[in-house]
Amino acid sequence: MRSWRAWLMRLASTFRKRRSDAELSAELERHLQLHIEDNVRAGMSPKAARRDALMKLGGVEQTKELYRGQRGLPWAEEVLRDSRYAGRTLALRPGFTVTVILTLALGIGATTAVFSVVDRILFRSLPYPHDEQLVSFGVRAPFEGLEFMLAPEYAVLQSQRTPFESMTSLTPGGADCDITEQNPVRLSCPVVESTFLSTFGIRPIVGRDFVKEDGRTGAARVALLSYHVWRTRCAGDPGVSGKVISVAGKPTQIIGVLPADFEMPNLGPADLLLPQVLDEASLDRNNPRMLLRAFGRLKPSVTIEQANAALQPWFEDSLRFVPPQFRAEVSLRVRSLRDRQMGDSRVGAWVLLGSVVAVLLLACVNVANLLLVRAVGRQREMAVRAVLGASRARLVRQALTESLLLALLGGIAGCGLAFGLLKAFLSIAPDGIVHLQKASLDPRVLLFCFGVSMMAGVLFGVAPAMNEPAAGWIVGRASGAAVRGVFRQTLVAAQIAGSVILLASAGMLLRSLWNIENVPTGLDAQHVLTAQISLAEHSYPDISKQLAFLQQVEGRLGRLPGTGLVALSDTLPPSGGTQATFFASIEVPGRPRVAQGTGGMVGWRMVTPNYFQALGIPIVRGRGFQEQDRAPTEQPVILSQALAAKLFPDEDPCGKTLRFTAFDRTGPRRTVVGIAGNVKNNGLTAEGDPEFYIPWKNDMETYVGRAFVIFRTPLSPASVASWTRSQIAEIDPTVPVEFAAMTERVDKLAARPRFDAVLLLLFAAIGVALAALGIYGVVSFLVSQRTREIGVRMALGAEPRSISGMVLWNTGRWTAGGAVLGLLGSWYCGRLLRSLLFGVKQHDPWLLLTAALILLVTAFVAAWIPARRAARVDPMVALRYE
């Protein structure tokens, strides 16, 4: 208590020093007067009295000094004084100061911003307790990207001993559902097993979790609300559980509310959780081919490999259900939840992180370099100070203050930059980078980067001051300069190497981006507008109703004013995917079926006759569909070139018949009427599956509740969109319609590589700039160190040209060394980047050489300026130098 009070008083008194000083002087003067008077009274002469009084006091100034030591906070005042001095010295050399601060800011800013982005992908734990125990498991098969499980096999596993503490499943596709109350709204309503929340370790914040009974056939309908829905629709009512709402037209009881940070393990949206009905009764009744996504929580100390081994017997057993010829293509997969979530975001994240760490290192090297250069430049000042009585500790403290001040300023600038960069990242980032929208500046990272640059600053700022200032410094004879010159050159070589690697990597990504943007999509996206129509399950429960609606839509939209084409399809290239079947299931009469395996996947779509023309897909052989093909009796099919080549390698396929046994088993033979050009339908970089088209009929048996309308029209998209909306609203105003220009859809596919390439290019540019700065700094320093030597050479008749040549040659050696090192590094990095590259050789010699060349030219220019300065040295001035 008392000491706190004293400390505060001392702090306060640092701010009213002057008044307190005056008061002390008055007090001491008074003291002396009183003492002298006493002494005189005791019989001393006035002079002796004064002398005695002063002696007993121990000197006025000494007393004041003692007093001040007690009064304020001496060390704080000293720090303040040091920083003020440091600030003045830094301000004297604005060039140096700004360079260091900018370098630090770049390093800190870029690293922090990027780390904030990748942190969630690579390091941050998932929002589940003990998330390292969570795995996703299931069967991998060619027709499905993610591991899955068939419901009956899952049921078998439930009755067995598993490596899991608990396991759970959800129904993929996360069905949309509608709350049909006062104001209807479409929500995402994932359907999950009753063990879902307990397996992931989540508890509802209000109400209860699902129980086993909720998942029985015929159980009362219940639902869990998401936090968001609870807040917005129920105003956060704590008594919400027990209330009944209408979900998809059926009364459903709310039993609880999910926590605010709840996240689906498949990262899908979730407004409402519904229980999955999965018991014997439902298994018999439902489609036995119902797919599930299964998740488990491993028992403590069970590894993923052990779990995989433990599930093997079950997997072997479940293979019974797989037709023998497909078995080789089916495998078991158990992987951590993080791996499943992050997928291919991981490689990109590591690349970004690696490049940004390289930038941070480059920045540190630069700062170190600049500080070293400066320290040598100040040797004389240090020596003078030492001679004048400054202790070594005092010198070190001064150097430290300066470095810390620089680091602090750089750090502040870096924070600002990080903030700006992160905003920029978010604005150019494509969809689908996991968690990106949630990224925020991470104070831990900021601190870390700050720490690193501080360390660099302190280490290299103080190291020179640790040396005993040598007497020789005063007359300008720098000691050890040659040794440190080599050290600096090595630093520069390392910088060049790092920059070459960054540049080469950025170059590879750019090339890859170029390739991706120039992939032929097989269609003409200009002047094409698409509209997606989704039909709600509750108002269009059966296929015939859906088709009737779409028939009306087609009829109305067909009257599009002006010269335009309108077509309908169930899916859309180049990224909408297709319905798919096995190649092996295509039966060509008179030919044996493929004996082994699936033969790969074959996509298919239902399209109206205008489809090919509207999308600009050429019919290379035969004809397109016509209106009469939509009659119930007609069974035409159009193959893509790829499928035609695979099915009928050496014949003309037109007129041939075939049967798709997988999806219309008993169906009729279909006649090939034409061959269409190949189209990308699973993204630009993925190998396009061969595909076929069948005509859109109004009496189909399968329909997925979603259709695309394709317009090819010279009219403005906005006017077409509003016209379409009004037309569809006249049929049913509740049906949502989403528009997108085809060019936009195609463009989106390159967004991710563009993002990667832009970021890496940015870092490469920063790296090159830093390297140039570093070289410039070191060469100018070396030149200024050798000014006298150069003067002597010139006086002895050396040509200015040979002087600058000498300087350049010296730089060139180190730069070339660094570049070679960089090329080796890039070679290695090419392998790491492999999975991000498309159509680029991982070791493109031209790319590597270009990167090295850019660096060499940069280095040359950076060295040229001081080299020219060296050549223009006046011998007379140089000899008198220092």
């Binding site: 008392r2 000491s3 009070r5 004293a6 008083m9 001392r10 008061e23 002390l24 008055a26 007090e27 001491l28 008074r30 003291h31 007067q33 009183l34 003492h35 006493d38 007993k56 006091l57 121990g58 000197g59 000494q62 007393t63 003692l66 007093y67 030591g69 007690q70 009064r71």
Partner: protein
Amino acid sequence: MSDKADVWQGTLALMILKTLESMGALHGYGIARRIEQTSGDLLSVNYGTLYPALLKLEQEGYIESEWGTSDNNRKAKFYKLTRAGKKQLERETRDWRQTQEILAKFLGAREQTS
């Protein structure tokens, strides 16, 4: 130097507090003289160290100061004890007594055994 004992560390504060308690408000020189007199001129106060000690006590809140007029009508800074200072004085006095007793016993015991 002189045969007078210097005030040893830590006791100056106690002496100042005691002096102020018995004398009321007093200026710095007065305090120093008073301490010397009380000790029967056996102690010599280093006047220079007196002022930082006064400042420290003031910072800790045991004394407070005020400019006032001395007997012969001249301005001087007067110090006086605060309530907290009184308590602190009592506490320190008690502590000193205790220390003294212990030491006395200890020294007495030694004399008997030897």
